[in-house]
Every structure is written in C-alpha cells, then in structure tokens.
C-alpha cells in the first residue's frame, strides 16, 4: 500500500492506494503543528499501517518559512568578479562579497583569498550564524572557488550549501537566492523530518519517506535534507500529478484545479506536465528550482462577489466560506446553489445573499446568479488564454525551431478540486471543448503525491579544448579523454544519473530524457580548436508503474 499526504494551507488530504485502487481517503483542517495534522489525517484513513510500502509528503513547510521569513540568520559568501554589481541581490547584512572571478568558459581570472574567506567566516560565526551558502559567478563552469571556500569553512558551520549543487543552469542572481533559501530551510527540514518519522513510527509506519518537489517528482528524504528548497510550491504540483494519474488519454490537456480562493492552471502534453523553463519564484524572488509551469488566478468557489460602480465583480479575494455554509458574503458557490447546480448548505442563505446583489444591480436573482458563474468562468478562461500564449511564446534559437514551431493547443480540459463537478457544464460551454471531471478529483492532490515518480535533472558540459567534463549537480569535474563526442557525453550522463540515484534521492523506476543537446565547433583564427558540448538530462516527471500499468 502507498500513502500520499498533501498538507495545504487550509486542508490536509490523504489517500491510501493499493495496486491501482484508492482504498481510503481522509481530510482534516491543517493545524499550526503540521506533524499533528499528518498524524490526524493518517488516523482518519483507518487503514492497516504496517503494510505501507511508501509514504509521500507534499508540504508547505519550506514555502511558508520562506514567505514568512521564519528562518534563522543565514550567511552567504559570494564571489562574482566584473558584471552587474552583485550587491544588488543581497537580501541581508549576512551576505558578504569576496574576491574571485571566473569567466564563462570557467577560466580563473581572480583567485579566492584564503585570509578573506576566513575573516568573513569568523565574523559570521561570531554573529551566531549556523548555516552558510556559498555562491560564485559561473561556478557551473568551474566550481573550484566554491569548493575552496567550502573546505575552508565546512568545519565551522552546521549547514553549508554550494551554488553549483543547486542547479547546473546559468543564472547568478537566481543561484544566490536559491542557495540562500536552501541553506535557510535546512534546519527546518531537518527538524520536520525527525518529528514526522517519530510520529509515523508511533502509528506503526516504518517505511522510508519521500517528499514531493515543485517539478511534480519526488525524492527520498536523504536528498531532501541536502536540497530542501526543491519542496517549495509542491502543492500545485501535487494536483497536476493527480491529473496525470487520473487522465484517460495522452491528449494535450488543460488542467484547472479550482479551489476556494484560486484556480491553478497547468497543462499536460502527451500526458506529461510542462515545466517552467527558467525556474519558479517564491516569496517574490526568482529561483533556479525546477517547477511546473502553472498560473494561479484569483477566482475560486468561495471568491467574494460584490458590486462596484454598478458592476458585478468576482474575486480575486476570499472573504470566508459561501453564505450557504454560514459565510456572510455571496460567492460563486451560492450562485450555483441558487441555480440548482450545488446541493449542499442552506439554500435560503444563498438566495438571500444573491438577492442582495440583485437589488443593488436592479436585476433578477436568477440572472445575477448566472452572471456570477459566467463572470468567474470568463476570468478563468482569460487566464488560460494568457497562459497558453505564454507557453507558446518561448523564444527559439535555431532556424529549425523557428520554421517548425511546436504550437501547443489544448484538446480537452480536466477540472479537479472542490467545485469541479458543479462548474463542469459552464466550463464546457464557455471553452467549447471536451471537459472531464475525473473520479476522485477532490483528492487529486494527495493522489498525485502518492503516485509521483522520483525525478532529477543534471547538466553536463564537455569542453574538448580545455579537456574538461563537468556535471555541477553531481559535483563531477574531471579531465576529458582524448576523443569525445556528443553521444559519449549523453551516455556518460545517463550512467551518472543511474549510478547516483541515492545521492539524488531517486528510485530505479526512472525514465531518462535528453532535455537539451548542443555541440559547437570552437574556432581560433580559421581552424577548429575543439568542441563545446552541452547536455541536460532528466528523469521525467510521471506516475509510478504500479498505477499507470493498470
């Protein structure tokens, strides 16, 4: 049996899956202590815990810690050299700039000064800092400086992360913030894992724990200890993976996860969710964390409905539950209640709430109810148009891609979340497309967590002129053998990904894709001096075989 738990801001959902059947589901209100919520929801499932083979958690822990700045002082040691002044990106006084410069090919121009590093580390230590992030510009082309700094300070700090281990992608400001957040949430993740393990053990669950990441994949808690930042925004990813599990085909599917306050929009192409190319943002800052491409729009079942300047407005905020459920303000759910498309709660309270709006607008209650639902669906549809436009506007850098664009056009819509069933006919009509609400859509998030495969991405660079092979994520920095081709690099990377499953927190069910492959002749004067090859490999986000082979 498999257990999936999604700890959201409002609710904590759990599902228990045996083979490819959902055997139990449970929902509790998320409390202040997340561990209590986990214990509570697991007890609510009422299943035989001893037979659990896999437990996956999707939590808002890191996200909230970052957004609410609930972490202890974290130091940063940064080297950059010429370019944009790195101090523009410093978030606190604990960011320190030191000497050192490496160029885009990874050639050292300015060395790191040992005395300077030690002085900075000394001051951080005096200030009581326990965690330090180390970042140098172009470290993914040459991690030597980061490693030199690391070896000088590692004995003095409990938590240390290095920029090149976060991601092999070029982007110094994002790397700074990613490394900072990662280091800052390390102690929080460590404490959390310890208490979750204890709580689950008390319930008789002893299996290893996996965490859901923003890319819709999972990793073992051993890797989550090292890279906790990857768990940010795993909530929306959980729902998307639920949609992947519940889909019946491999069409291009627009996924709408309609909640109380917001609707999260995502897209599946051939059954695979689309990723954000550069990395996702958290707490208003851009990071290198690989995440699903999603858009959140302020229109949900509980959106506040009101009249402003004689016009009907829906959202973007929520002012409590629907009137039908004891709230004080009208919501789209009340409109659906009046229209007979929602059966729960007090009909009279919904009628009263909608009638208030109707008086203000001088219109019939039924018409106003229809207008509310239309307005909400219209808001979602406009957001979807923008979202698909953005998916299709990614710049391309080759003539081939320019002439043969992969235009994404949704063929159907899958709606999940609380009000999915109630809104289905309206969405179908507005979009003029097939619209599916799968069974169990209300626990799609927990199901997605339960069933998500392990994922990782690695970046490889081979420079035959400098005779160098690099893979920052795996900390590989080695000399290249004499002759080397792009295919050699791809097979080296494939082997490296398979050999490092424990380090990356992977299980052996992975499917490897070549995400990018480029090879350039390097020329000096008029003769070729070598090749510059770049490869990105991933283990693809997807659903474990147990479920998808049904």
């Amino acid at each position: 049996m498999i257990l999936g738990i999604d700890i959201g801001g409002t609710h904590t959902d759990a599902v228990c899956v045996k083979d490819h059947v959902i055997v139990a589901t449970a929902k509790v209100i998320t409390g202040a202590d997340l561990v209590d919520s986990i214990s509570g929801v697991v007890r609510g499932l009422g299943v035989e815990q001893g037979s659990l083979k896999r437990v996956v958690l999707s939590t808002t822990l890191s996200t909230n810690a970052i957004i609410e700045k609930k972490y202890t002082a974290t130091g940063m040691i940064v080297s950059a050299g010429p370019g944009i002044d790195p101090r523009n990106y410093f978030l606190t006084d604990d960011f320190h700039l030191i000497d050192g410069a490496v160029d885009h090919r990874g050639r050292e121009y300015i060395p790191v000064r040992k005395d300077q590093v030690l002085e900075v580390a000394d001051n951080l230590k005096k200030d009581g800092v326990e965690g330090v992030g180390i970042v140098s510009k172009f470290c993914v082309r040459n991690p030597t400086h980061e490693k030199q700094i690391h070896s000088l300070i590692t004995d003095n700090f409990k938590y240390v992360s290095m920029g090149h281990r976060m991601s092999g992608t070029l982007n110094f400001p994002r790397r700074l913030h990613t490394t900072y957040f990662n280091t800052a949430v390390m102690p929080i993740q460590e404490r959390f894992v310890r208490s979750v393990k204890q709580a689950l053990a008390e319930l008789g669950i002893k299996t290893s724990i996996l965490f859901l990441k923003a890319d819709g994949g999972t990793y073992l808690s051993s890797a989550a200890d090292r890279l906790p930042v990857e768990t940010i925004l795993s909530g929306p990813a959980a729902s998307m993976m639920g949609a992947v599990a519940l889909r019946k085909n491999t069409h291009t599917t627009l996924v709408l996860d309609i909640g109380g306050t917001t609707t999260d929009i995502g897209i599946l192409i051939d059954g695979v969710p689309v990723l954000e190319p550069k990395g996702i943002s958290v707490g208003g800052l851009k990071t290198l964390v690989r995440g699903l491409k999603m858009l959140s729009v302020g229109a949900g079942g509980d959106s506040h409905v009101f009249v402003a300047n004689g016009k009907l407005c829906v959202g973007p905020h929520r002012h409590g539950p629907p009137a039908a459920m004891g709230g004080t303000q009208p919501t789209p759910m009340d409109a659906l209640r009046v229209l007979g498309d929602f059966e729960q709660g007090d009909l009279n309270r919904s009628r009263e709430a909608i009638a208030g709006l109707a008086r203000e607008l001088g219109q019939d209650s039924k018409d106003v109810a229809k207008a509310i639902v239309t307005k909400m669906v219209d808001t979602i549809q406009k957001a979807c148009d923008g979202f698909i436009g953005e998916v299709n506007s990614n710049p391309v850098y080759t003539i081939h891609e320019m002439l043969h664009p992969d235009v994404v056009r949704p063929e159907e819509i899958m709606v999940i979340g609380g009000p999915a069933k109630n809104l289905q006919p309206y969405i179908k009509k507005a979009f003029g497309m097939k619209c599916v609400v799968p069974e169990h859509s209300e626990v799609a998030n927990a199901l997605g967590a339960a069933l998500a495969r392990t994922t990782a991405q690695i970046t490889l660079l081979a420079d035959t002129q400098l005779k160098k092979l690099l893979c920052p994520e795996l900390d590989i920095d080695m000399e290249l053998p004499g002759r080397y081709t792009l295919n050699d690099l791809i097979s080296f990377g494939t082997d490296a990904l398979r050999e490092n499953t424990t380090y990356l927190g992977l299980r052996d069910e992975i499917e490897i894709d070549v995400v990018e492959q480029q090879s350039f002749n390097m020329v000096k004067g008029f003769s070729t001096t070598g090749k510059n090859m770049r490869v990105k490999l991933q283990s693809r986000p997807g659903i474990i075989g147990l479920w998808s082979n049904k």
Binding site: H104, I110, N394, I399
Partner: protein
C-alpha cells in the same frame, strides 16, 4: 533588486544551426558565449527587460529595399529572413509602445548588402536594418525622419548605398579608416546623393582608436548632428568589432565604451552587426549595451583581461580625431551651400565586388535630379554570375514626372536585360518583368 529605468525588449536569435562555413567568423558558435553571459548575469530577470521571439521577414519586406537577382528565394536563406524578421519585431515592439527601446541581437548581419543583390558581401545577403526601416515607414506614416548610426568597425557601404538618395534617412557611419580595412570606402567626401547631400556622414577613425576617440566623435559630432536633424527614430547598427580583442580589425574600443556610447546615443533600436571576438568581447559588450539601453548601472561591466593603459590612444591620434570631427561638423552645417548637380540626370558608374561569394558587378545608375521630390533612379547592373537586369526605384513622395519617368524606364527595358524590376514606394508595389 534591479529595476530598469526604461522598458527594454530583447530579440535574441543566435541561429545555432546556421553558418557560412564551419570555421568562418560567421558561425554557429558566434553568440553562444554572449548567451551564457546574458543568462548568468540574469539580465532577462531584471524588472523591465523582456525577451521576445523573432519573426520572419516576408519576400515583400525584402523587395521593399532590395532588387534581388533573379529573385528573393535565390539570394537568401531562412536565416536571413529570421534575422531581418527579428529586426522588424524589435521595431514593432517600439512602435506599438510595448517597450521604449529594443535590441535585435540577431545574426547573420546585413550592413554590407546594397540595393541590388547578386550575392553575399562582407557576410551579408540582405540589409536587415534597411528592411526594418522600410517596414516602419510603410506601417507608421508618422515616422518621417530616421537616423541610422552605424558603429560597426567596417564602413556600412550597403546601408550607405541604399539610403544614398534618401533625404529622410540620415546615415552616419563611424568606422576604421577605409585605407586600412574592408570594404575600403566611407571617406568624408561620401556625403550623400545630389538630392540628399549631408544625409550620409562618414567618420573614418585611425586604427587603435579607443574609448576617448570614439566618445569624442559621438559627443562632438554625431550628437550635434542628430540634435539638428531631429529624427523620429534613431537606430544603432551595433557592430562590435571595434573591440580591442577583435581578430579581424585594429581598433581598441572597450565594452564599457560601447555601453557609454549607447547611453549617449540613446537609440530607439539597436541591431547587432559584426563583431567576431566571440569569447572575449561580445559577452561583455552585449551585456553593457543591454544595461545601457535599459538605464541600469553598467559601471562594473568590464572584460576580465582589460588593461586600459595598454590600449590608450596616442595623443596625436586624438588630435587628428578632434580636427576631423570639427571639420565634418562644419561641412555638415554648411551642406546646403554645396552646389548640386545642375543637370537633369545625374549618373554614376560603379564596380562592386561580392567578397563572400566571389562575384563582380558593374552598375550604371541614373538619377532624375528633381526639384520637387527625391528623384526617381534606375540601375543597369551586370554581374559575373551572369545576370544583367534593370532596376527602377520610384521613391516615397515621388512627383508625377518622376513617377512617369520610372514607368517609362521599366516599360522600355528590352531583351538585353534578363529582367526589369520596379519598386514603387508610395504604393508599396514591386513588379518583375522577365524579358
């Protein structure tokens, strides 16, 4: 966090699958390290800097500028349509107000492509700025006066040729002296056609000119001319081969200098031209230009190997540049005093060599020098590749007499020619008559 002062659009099209030959300077690798630098610096994440997709220029867009012999399809590849299309997109973004400034960081380049195209010259097949300029004038009639400031190290003989007779396009080229570098033209006495005197300005600088020399010319010659011309649109043909590390030129300009140049010039649109120091110069120059366009501090952008003392100009060279600029400004201000051709028809005979394709061309151009309009002209051209054709250009705002003359020339072309071509700018018309 960094906030751009001006909304700035970047069209990046490195054409990673196109090259002239694998070891040619114009090769797949050319913008690779620039992209690395732009990505690592996080330039595209700066609030106010946006990346946009390039587009494709159509045959009509090309025919608005060029006479491609025998036709567009034979003379260009998709890479050229996208490079010109990238410029058009940059212009569209600025014209539609999506951004204040735009930079088309595209290849292949275009400023050596002249009005008649028998093949490729100086790595260029079609003139991407000219295609953009004509697209702007066709679609936005309120844009009357355009200035192109060409800061490539090579004289932009193609752009000069295309706008030679155009009184509404000011073409200023600042480049390494033609006595020491390809294409060997661009001297102060090349000053515009008889109906457009002063609308071409050439500033040949001595080899090894560095930041002080370039910026002197910008501040004391080019900016005063622009102030008086009052263009509706300023374009920088942003070649980057004046850099001290460029392998095929002999200047000593720096990335910081290029950034300052763009800050001073404040162009609406920049278009990449040449620049072949792809590892040591382009990454830093392009970073500097993007920051300068967006109004973001660029003072820490510099080449890792920069040694300003090594590349400082000889004081004598600076004296020479100052005298040259002062003289040019004086001549420009007195451009109306220059006596124009008194005859009805002004003619010129030229030989043009297409170095990239090894083609020789001879041209005989006839301009109807007209008091009422820019004047119609025809070009009788024969290339060693075999084609002899007649090209007729009826300019924007042509008077009835010039318009009639153009049609007469086009209609009377006989079997000596493979074909006759007619560009009618006011009607956005292009005709080919195969003879």
């Amino acid at each position: 966090m960094i906030q751009a002062k001006r909304q700035t659009g970047l069209i990046f099209f490195p054409a990673y699958d196109w090259e002239i030959t694998p070891t040619h300077p114009e090769r797949q690798e050319r913008l690779l390290y620039t992209q690395d630098q732009v990505l690592e610096e996080g330039l595209l994440d700066i609030e106010g800097i946006h990346e946009f997709k390039a587009g494709l220029a159509s045959d009509e867009d090309v025919n608005r500028v060029h006479f491609c012999v025998p036709d567009v399809t034979s003379r260009i590849t998709h890479s050229h349509s996208i490079s010109a299309g990238g410029c058009i997109e940059a212009a569209r973004l600025v014209m539609e107000g999506n951004v204040e400034r735009a930079f088309a960081l595209v290849r292949p380049p275009g400023h050596h492509a002249m009005r008649v195209v028998h093949g490729a010259r100086g790595f260029c097949n079609i003139n991407i700025e000219a295609v953009m300029v004509e697209w702007v004038r066709k679609n936005y009639s309120h844009i009357k006066k355009i200035a192109i400031v060409d800061t490539d190290c090579h004289h932009g003989d193609g752009s000069q040729d295309i706008f030679w007779h155009d009184p509404n396009v000011l073409y200023i080229s600042i480049h390494q002296d033609g006595r020491t570098l390809y294409p060997g033209t661009g001297f102060p006495d090349e000053f515009g056609g008889p109906g457009a005197l002063g609308m071409t300005v050439n500033v040949p600088l001595p080899p090894r000119t560095s930041d002080r020399g370039f910026l002197y010319a910008i501040e004391n010659l080019i900016l005063p001319i622009l102030d008086e011309f009052k263009p509706d649109l300023v374009i920088n043909s942003a070649g980057q081969d004046n850099h001290y590390s460029d392998p095929i030129t002999h200047m000593a300009f720096t990335a910081g200098g290029y950034a300052r140049l763009n800050e001073l010039l404040a162009p609406d649109i920049c278009v990449l031209e040449g620049g072949y120091s792809i590892e040591s110069a382009l990454p830093y120059i392009n970073t500097g230009i993007i920051l300068a366009l967006a109004g973001v501090d660029y003072s820490y952008v510099r080449e890792p190997d920069l040694d300003p003392d090594q590349i400082r100009e000889d004081p004598k060279a600076l004296d020479y540049i100052e005298e040259l600029c002062d003289a040019l400004l004086d001549t420009w201000r007195r451009r109306d005093e220059v006596v124009s051709s008194p005859k009805e028809f002004a003619e010129r005979q030229r030989s043009i060599y297409y170095d990239t394709d090894g083609i020789s061309e001879t041209q005989h151009e006839t301009l109807r020098f007209c008091p009422d309009c820019p004047g119609v002209f025809k070009i009788d051209t024969q290339a060693s590749s075999g084609y002899r054709v007649l090209c007729v250009h009826i300019p924007r705002g042509a008077c009835d007499a010039c318009r009639q003359q153009g049609h007469d020339w086009f209609d009377s072309a006989n079997g000596r020619f493979y074909a006759a071509y007619l560009q009618d700018m006011d009607n956005d018309g292009y005709q080919i008559n195969i003879l």
